[in-house]
Amino acid sequence: MAEAATLPGVGDALALGLTRDEYELVCAKQGRVPNQVELAMYSLLWSEHCAYKHSKKLLRTLPTQGEHVVMGPGENAGAVDVGGGLVCAFKVESHNHPSAVEPFQGAATGVGGILRDIFAIGARPIAVLDSLRFGEPGPASEQRPSGPAARVRYLLEGAVSGIGHYGNSIGVPTVGGEVYFEGPYEQNCLVNAMALGLARREQLIRSAAAGPGNLLVLFGASTGRDGIGGASVLASAELGGEGEDAAKRPTVQVGDPFEEKKLLECSLELLQLGLLVSLQDLGAAGLTSSAAEMASKGEVGIDIDVARVPLREAGMEPFEVMVSESQERMLCVVEPANLQAVLRVCEKWEVGGTAIGSVTETMLVRVLDGAELVGEMPVRALVDECPLYDLHPEKPAAPIYAPPEASVALGCSHREALLALLASPNLASRRALFEQYDAIVQSRTVRRPEQADAAVLALPDGSAIAVSIDGNGRRVAADPRRGTVAAVLECAANLACVGAEPLGTTNNLNFGNPEKPHIAWQLCESVAGLAEACRALRAPIVGGNVSLYNEGSTGPIYPTPVIGMVGRLPDARRAGALAFQRAGDAIAVVGAFSPSAGAGELAKLEGRPLPDGLPEIDIQAAVATHAAVRDAVRAGSISSAHDIAEGGLAVAVAECCLAGGFGASLRVDVDVDADAGGDARSALFGEAPGGFILSGPASELEALGERVPVQLIGSVGGEMLRIDLVGCEPPDGLDAALAELQEAHAGGLAGFFH
Amino acid sequence: MLIRPKAGILDPQGVAVERALPALGFEGVHNVHIGRLVELDVSEPGRLEEMCEKLLANPLVEDYEIILDR
């Protein structure tokens, strides 16, 4: 190999994010000091993002097997059987750090990346959902806030705009999502994107490279300097690494949904024609990770010639070509006899395609620049032998998070509390957001945003897929294990409300710095809760993502596991909805619902600190309730179903009223046992998993009582929401006009978009 | 080529920018319009007008200005 003028050293390794020990290990595995190209590739593949150094051991404890699982973790996406010979591929991924830098492009490329993961396994993307978390946006009445609140609104607008731009342009409907605002996310916003795809079972393709002598073909957009940023320390002296030239190396990846649409159609056609041995998309760490991972899975070697990669910019160095994160590119392995056919399909879709390398038997990744060898690394060293670290969890002795700022007076009336909750950014109508998304392209959407607790997509045989994405930071911060169990149960509850049974789960773990013992504790506890809940629901993890080091000068984010769950219902026409339908329908609380005030939305508005721990959860009871609700929805015997989540019973009922345009009259028991947390506030606004608000004929609701606890609490009708609290002396309750609730709910978020 | 919205047609982008500037401390700004810049090298400058009329601008709603840089 030609001698490089100056080899990078330990200082460069540290600048690239490797530790001193890791650098020594790289040198040992290479048998020499790594050169520029090699160091760049190791630093990326051994980064937390690519190697899961701190989480891999923990993730191995998650349940991944199940009767519906067709493709489990380890591939570009997971997949479950949905009947009729079809599988549903799905996965969630984060794009947190890029979105904090440039929210529009960060969110857009996040959507682009997750979509590529779906069609990389041969499935046509059919839906997108997104989970967003930002800091506090300031009061809706304040038109032009300054400081952090202004930045929050900027991030919110940018991210929503970016998601809409990408999803709408590529023709994949955005059918659901969630957005939350909490102080700890102020400096570290979360943008998690989930996508679903559909394929015939036999169409699924894996990413392992195979067949020494086969060709590596790169197709899609040309390669530029996108995303190189940090690696620019390696730039050779003539080009300079600082000042003017540093500005030429953009860190922001710019997405082009039009290019990706062409790429998608091209990929699916190549697969349909049977022209590919394997397929992989280029995401984080570009060619470096795609090529290395394909080689590792296939237990083969790979040669790549950077001189053959189509470039968007002149004078790119080999290491830049290897680490570029230019979007909308795919890598495939092709038998030489099929190369011309592959290039013809690329040409038809106006997508550049070039053979850039080949599969070898060497078990090495070799990077060439024309005839010159510029990098050589053992595949195993790059991908499989990255050191994995143990976590050292320790429960924090003192609270980590400051209490939220109060925005309602502690002594306010129940009515004022309800209106404040409905107007709060976490609960207000999300219409201003989802109206920016096309939710209906591809003509499958049976339930659009705000119509039901989960999105529902029709399948050709008349059945349907249901999907929901749910996370919770504050409750997980109060109790990482139980908070995570609650988040998983909520996701499954949302599926039950539309009549779906869960098939599989994907998760994105968003946490702070795992090298800190209290964060490690959060992570370990959360994963334990995730495993427990997924097992109980028989909804195994089929894939996911981990985003660590989400910390700023003001501290870590709340520990935030985001759960995406896919389910199936046998008859699309019987998909549940959350709106009250008919005056006179009875309303019932279904399930063992033991609300508590701690870590709830009202507690947040009141400025209360997080409790230390949450009450125990009866998972089996919740699972049984899900089944009962699901069956009632499927039977078509009830009018509406909605799970009780943030804001408790009063908010859940208000949401059903608002969606249907009906008032309601309720009598709610207040548990007089003060030790069990029984009081009026808890009864109205306390939160806990396992409770649902159902409406319909009283007899149908009562019949459910044979399976699970059912309490008839009132009926639908009128223009008011009236709740009388039973067991209170003096009499207590709340009375609010539907119009008032409507005004509070509609106004909460709308003002944040210009 | 500089391509601008025709006078008299509502330009909401221009309006949005005009409203945003004072909030940042820039007073006395009026008549903001947002258009497009098309830069190209051409061997037959005589055909530029036709290019604008046919593709680069929509003459119903846009005005264009050709600037030659020899």
């Binding site: 705009s161 809409g164 731009h165 709408n168 342009s169 590529i170 023709g171 082009d256 949904p257 039009f258 290019e259 649409k261 062409k262 879709w349 106006e350 989802f434 109206e435 920016q436 998304y437 096309d438 939710a439 209906i440 392209v441 591809q442 003509s443 499958r444 959407t445 049976v446 029709a458 699309a572 026409r573 978009f753 | 047609i9 509502l10 909401p12 982008q13 949005a16 593709l55 680069l56 929509n58 119903l60 709603v61």
Partner: protein, 224 residues
């Protein structure tokens, strides 16, 4: 009867349009590079982001070989339906008067809207009655219809304003609440909302959009 649905790089709703057309007749996709319209008796130019909406929405698609054939087809009286991006393409191709500009709120907006039928005797609305309200979803960022006043007056008089947004439903700022227009001959029609997404209650919340495809079927049958 046979529909031809054009497909450009970047079209999104062509498959949905195909599905809608197949509920009343036969339908095939026509690749943008083909001049052969495959014997189609009516052409649908679908929604989406042809060519990424680069330059201006529809500005590049209008020059494709398939569109050149469609222009000839229209000149000979063939029925042409342009939906959303398709409407933009037809305006850019000068098959319809006016232009589509960015929504006044500068935002892509997806909303179920009510449209009022203004002209019920066109080949695209004969299955409707005058003043009938159609519930159809709209989803676009660039849908504000514009034409000069005198053009609008002339169109009004000639019965070329086919659909209007009902009271309070015009979210994009279209001149005179215009949602859909046809040419002087009445054989070319463009609208921003998506009738192909309102062909079944379960998915679209309404099947009012089917009336437009049904009207076209009736019109073609009536000629034969």
């Amino acid at each position: 009867m046979k529909f031809g649905v054009l497909q450009f790089p970047g079209s999104c709703d062509e498959v949905d349009a195909l599905g809608a057309a197949r509920r009343v007749g036969e339908a095939e996709l026509i690749w943008h590079g083909d001049r052969d319209l495959g014997g189609a008796e009516a052409i649908v130019v679908p929604g989406g982001f042809s060519y990424g909406d680069y330059l201006r929405a529809g500005a590049i698609a209008r020059f494709s070989p398939a569109m050149e054939s469609v222009i000839d087809f229209a000149a000979e009286g063939g029925l042409v339906l342009g939906i959303c991006n398709g409407f933009q393409v037809l305006c850019e191709a000068r098959l319809l008067p006016g232009a589509l500009l960015p929504n006044t709120n500068l935002r892509f907006t997806f909303r179920q809207v009510e449209l009022e039928v203004q002209a019920a005797s066109t080949p695209f609305t004969r299955a409707c009655s005058p003043g009938q309200l159609l519930s159809i979803p709209a989803k676009h960022g660039w849908g504000r219809y514009y034409a000069e006043s005198h053009t609008l007056d002339a169109m009004q008089d000639a019965g070329q304003v086919v659909l209007r947004y009902a009271q309070g439903q015009n979210f994009n700022g279209s001149a005179r609440d215009i949602a859909g227009v046809c040419n002087e001959q009445g054989n070319v029609f463009g609208l921003m909302p998506h009738p192909e997404h309102a062909v079944e209650e379960l998915i679209g919340g309404s099947s009012d959009g089917l009336l437009i495809f049904e009207s076209m079927r009736m019109a073609v049958a009536g000629r034969g």
